[in-house]
Symmetry: C2
Subunit: 192 residues, 2 copies
Amino acid sequence: MQDILFDFISKYVTLTDDEKNAILALDIFHSVKKGTTLLKEGQKSNDNYFVLKGCLRKYYMIDGEEKTTAFFTEMEALTPHCVMSKNPSEYYISCVEDTILLISTSDMEAEINSKFPKFELMCRILSEERLGKQQIDFDEFKTSSPEQRYLNLLESRPDLIQRVPQHQLASFLGIKPQSLSRLRARILEKNN
Amino acid sequence: MQDILFDFISKYVTLTDDEKNAILALDIFHSVKKGTTLLKEGQKSNDNYFVLKGCLRKYYMIDGEEKTTAFFTEMEALTPHCVMSKNPSEYYISCVEDTILLISTSDMEAEINSKFPKFELMCRILSEERLGKQQIDFDEFKTSSPEQRYLNLLESRPDLIQRVPQHQLASFLGIKPQSLSRLRARILEKNN
DNA sequence: CGGATTTCTTCACTTAAGTGAACGAGTTAT
DNA sequence: ATAACTCGTTCACTTAAGTGAAGAAATCCG
């Protein structure tokens, strides 16, 4: 399990044994059961998440309806907006599956960053990567119809369609579950 | 004009006269006429933009149609994706109005950053700010109907609706110009 | 095991966005 | 000055998404 983490990090920076031990000493590995809610609307938190195995979901509660806006799977990091803004959270984060996570507080990251500047570098690279990816995703979303978005998802993250309930996928695609059902039927029809 | 820049920077870090002069020595101030295209699809570029006055537009050309996905106005920065990826650009950037810009290359930024670490700090803060804002914008877009998106825009960036042509606004909102016209008529109807 | 709940699909109907065409107003260019 | 274009709006029609209800299948839980 720790190997998964260190393999990932090694893509960005090379760690000494000292550095690896410093990370392990933080005791950041956590197993979380499917359905667990990690963060609730209105709650304050300093926790950042990194998914080693499993899937997290971010959703808003609007007019009594869950609006899912993002999924986080293996090797994806999630820094809730409320951690940065220091305000109560606008949204929920929960586990779609049994999940193995790293949970780190801002304090812990600051400590590691000051001890090992290498880390700061990796965080900046990761943050830039994420910003770039985010922009492309947003552009793609804006320039596509729901049907195209579904087909794109089928291309880019086919696993999501298998592992996530349809009604959560639907709001992720910006539509209602019924529309997703219909849309899928329409696609099958075309490829009859 | 330079004051605008230094006032902005002073919100994040405090500059010495030496540092200010180093920036001015780079000769990064540019005036660009309305309609000018700064970046074209397929083109490679190392230029980053920062708008001092005016408005830039980012758009894709899809099936012969312009799809506008972002506007950049006063005090907003734009690092094209192609600068980071080193690939040809997927999109266009052009001037909606006569615009005063800072144009800096990655090399220039690296030079300033190495001379004045303060800058690196500011860049990281700005990048994190942007990532956060971007995520909130994306969530808002996903969870809203076109009509709600228009009303939100009216709240959050009312200037855009005045200074940008309707058909560019429409694709920014993810709809066709005709639908934007209709939607506005519908809103007026309601508030009769 | 069996009842309850969740999830997904289908249906009929409503509402809103897409499409193609047309028109007037404003702008640009020659 | 006038012809050509761009821009915004409107219209009629098509297509797709929203809504509410209902039911089948799968899953959860006592």
